[in-house]
Structure formats: C-alpha cells, structure tokens
C-alpha cells in the first residue's frame, strides 16, 4: 500500500478483555514505532523495532502491553486484561532508515475504547 495501514480503526473492549492491534508499515521500511495518543495530547512513545528486533520498549506502560514484529514487516500491539486507562488512539509509524532523525510516516491509528 501507499501508506502505513492500521486495523481495526476502532475497537471497543470490555474491561479485562485482551486486544490485538495491527500495523502494516510502508514496504521496505526498516524502523517501526508504536505511540499512544490520549485525547487532546501529543503522541507518547511505546516501543521501537528495527526490522524484527525490538530495540526499545521503554515506553510500554505495563507488562500487560506486548508488541511483536516477527518477520520485520507487520507488527502487532497486544494489550492484555484491558483497563479503562488504556483508552486512547494507538498510532503506528514507520521510516525507511534506522533511528528517528529521519521522516516517519504515521498511520491513521486505532481508537481503543475500554468500557
């Protein structure tokens, strides 16, 4: 595809339910990032992949959050036992090169609502 694709666009989960959010980065992009954006706030870093290697997961808020990119392309962010405070838009971004001092392209995000 032409851009970063995320699915689903919207997800409503009952508290305690597990969810999986998918990101299809731009083909050939080495770097992949996940961000969490609360309502009215800027995106907050969650985790970073370089190909299939998860090099930084310092932003994951708890051990309920888990991300993977097993073949270095598609990535999945999984949240176990969702809580209300997990409600946010989850953004995925990818860039052609390694590191962050290059242009990153964002997807439209997945809006997660935990009820």
């Amino acid at each position: 595809g032409a851009g970063v694709s995320q699915s689903p666009r919207y997800k409503v989960a009952k508290r305690g339910q597990d969810v999986a959010l998918r990101c299809d980065p731009i083909s050939g992009h080495v770097s992949l990032f996940w961000y969490q954006q609360a309502l009215g706030q800027g995106p907050e870093f969650l985790t970073y992949f370089q190909n299939e290697a998860q090099l930084d997961k310092s932003g994951l808020p708890s051990d309920r959050f888990f991300a993977e990119r097993p073949e270095g392309s598609v990535s999945t962010l999984k949240i176990q036992r969702t809580q209300q405070e997990d409600s946010a838009v989850y953004l995925c971004a990818s860039s052609l090169d390694t590191g962050v001092s290059v242009e990153a392209f964002f997807g439209q995000g997945t809006r997660l609502t935990v009820v």
Partner: protein, 112 residues
C-alpha cells in the same frame, strides 16, 4: 516530565493571518525538530523539519525559526487558509535515540 513544551494550546486567526506556534526544549542532545500536522481522525503528517545547524527553514507557506542558544523553535504559517485548520505538534529527537518527544499540540482555527 514534558521534554518539549508547546504553546499556545489553541489559536484562532483570520484567513491571511500568520499564526505562530512556539516550542522549547532542554535536552541539548536533540538534533532533529519536526513539525507534524494532524487532522481529526487522521495520523500526524510531517510538515517540515529542521536541524540545529540552520536558523530558519522555509517550505512553501511554512517556516521554522530555530534559536539554538535559547533552545526554542517556532512554526510560522504565512497567508493562512481555512484548510490549515488542524492540530500542530512540534517534536524533537536525538540521533542516538529511538523516539520522538512530542509537544502537547496546538489547535489552529483559521476563520474564512
């Protein structure tokens, strides 16, 4: 702790006006400063970016001014149009890091 501080939170200008959005940072290791534009329901899109070796960068109607000694940078939108109405985020990153640090955003409304 907010690594990048952004102001104002919201801004309303008339069509043709020049809105200015300001950002400040503390970490001198930052070496890349992008501005992102976000429309409702969309992801952020890169607008323009600058590195600390230049004091100004212009792309079309968008200009970044960068003051390295003051650790501040700002976005100016010339001849603003209603289609520029969106939320703008400044950000910063360091070459040795793995993440962007975003400001809290500025909601811009351009009145026709």
């Amino acid at each position: 702790q907010q690594q990048v501080k952004q102001s104002p939170q919201s801004l309303i200008v008339q069509k043709g006006g020049i809105p200015i959005i300001n950002c400040a940072y503390e970490n001198t290791a930052f070496d890349y400063f992008p501005w992102y534009q976000q429309f409702p329901g969309k992801g952020p899109a890169l607008l323009i970016a600058i590195r600390p070796d230049v004091s100004e960068k212009k792309e079309g109607r968008f200009t970044i001014s960068f003051n390295k000694s003051a650790k501040q940078f700002s976005l100016h939108i010339m001849d603003s149009q209603p289609g520029d109405s969106a939320t703008y985020f400044c950000a910063a990153s360091k070459a040795t890091g793995n993440q962007f640090y975003f400001g809290t955003g500025t909601s811009l409304t351009v009145i026709p």
